[in-house]
Symmetry: C2
Subunit: 261 residues, 2 copies
């Protein structure tokens, strides 16, 4: 693929990482658009691009326009874009491809299954990307674009992408919340978060190596109601309800089977 | 510390790893006791120890008797031990030290905050151990014992150990369950578990490096009720309730603040 010319709409966590990754891969980032002029300028300058604050000023001649904004803003951005000659994609897990059709005849999706933070370095080449395109040629062009920066590309239409997004919430957002509750419990007893890190890292290694069923341990797994009651009593009301509901789900799944922790 | 002589009661996941770790560290594992003769024999033979099936046959002269059985069996094992001259410890998160007092005047706890599987290799030297002792000398002896195999020893009486145990359930058992649900969702859409692994690994790195609050992303974090409703509708009833409860907890914690995913 000849070095593609790209306009990015957005300068948030995802955009920041993708702008850098595509620039490093030899693509020409032509414009970076963000509502806040300073955000647009900073990210644009880092790759020698033009900073814009109005999607209506996007260059219609670019090969790709990557709309990298919050899920709820994608449709609005698409309506404000000029009619683009190239391919317009968004990067959202929960937004249908079709909201982009007002901006181009050739549209698609480039969804990275990862959690991005501006200030954390991240190896984009290890991120799985999921693509969708409005026709086979468009899809092939988006796949080729993705291949510039990542090692793994698979296809996902809007329905499949919903499954990926739910999996991301269950596998990332909720565990993050629960690990946060765990760290709060440790702090209440005077321990630092680091004492929990080997356990959590081993948990993750185990669930992917052996599967969640083989890896499940704990009071609920062995139907240890006495311990569950003790733990409930130690937690604030909201967390006690969560503890209870997850314990009951695990007990139901394993039918209170006996197993040593 | 002179090489301690140790009897292990138990041949399950935890016992298997500790027997090997103490043997490798130069301790003399004298006996391994398990109800199933074959389990006792296999583990005992691997370190040149005697296999026994009755805790009543434990050698009263050993320096340490480590009771490494399921939480609900610790008290029963203690009642069946002969009166031991050395120190008797258990390895359970949720059992009080005092249930051991019928077996020795010197008792304590050696609690490893980790999830053990017999068939997975594990670097015990990275596991944090938490100790308790019936007096200062006993505690010092248990600390020295733990130091043979692990790099990090801290103290935790029964109350503090409960906090550690709850943190383990919140940070390990529940995330394992949720990641399992996520993998099921991926399978329903035709994707393998591996597409989720970079996301989960980054989630764990981020929560310990930046803290759970900074690391929290997702629909609930940004108060995206429309996406939450869509996700709920895709999940089986039980998981939909869990999705709902965790989403509401996150929304409550962050007061529906706005942030881009």
């Amino acid at each position: 693929m000849e070095a593609p010319r790209i306009t990015f709409i957005g300068a948030g966590n995802v955009a920041t990482h993708l702008v850098r990754a595509f620039h490093d891969a030899g693509a020409e980032v032509v414009q970076v658009c963000a509502r806040t002029p300073e955000h647009a300028r900073q990210l644009a300058e880092s790759v020698g691009a033009e900073a814009i604050t109005d999607p209506g000023k996007a260059d219609p001649s670019v090969d790709f326009c990557i709309v990298c904004v919050g899920d709820s803003a994608v449709a609005d951005v698409a309506r404000r874009l000029p009619l683009m000659h190239g391919i317009v994609v968004h990067t959202s897990g929960s937004v249908e491809m079709d909201v982009l059709r007002c901006a181009s005849a050739r549209v698609g999706v480039l969804y990275p299954l990862q959690t991005f933070s501006r200030e954390r370095s991240l190896d984009v080449s290890r991120v799985p990307f999921f693509t969708e395109g409005s026709d086979a040629d468009v899809l092939a062009a988006i796949d080729a674009l993705a291949s510039l920066v990542c090692g793994s590309v698979a296809h996902a239409d809007s329905a499949h992408r919903q499954y990926l997004h739910v999996a991301g919430v269950l596998g990332c957002n909720f565990p993050n919340y629960l690990i946060g509750c765990a760290i709060d419990m440790l702090a209440a007893a005077g321990y630092g978060a680091e004492v929990l890190r080997p356990l959590v890292e081993e948990t993750v290694a185990k669930v992917f190596d052996a599967g969640a069923t083989a890896a499940q341990t704990g009071p609920a797994r062995r139907g240890d109601v006495a311990t569950i009651e003790k733990h409930r009593a130690m937690l604030p009301e909201g967390e006690a309800c969560i503890y209870d509901m997850l314990s009951r789900a695990i007990m139901a799944k394993y039918n209170n089977g006996n197993e040593q922790n």
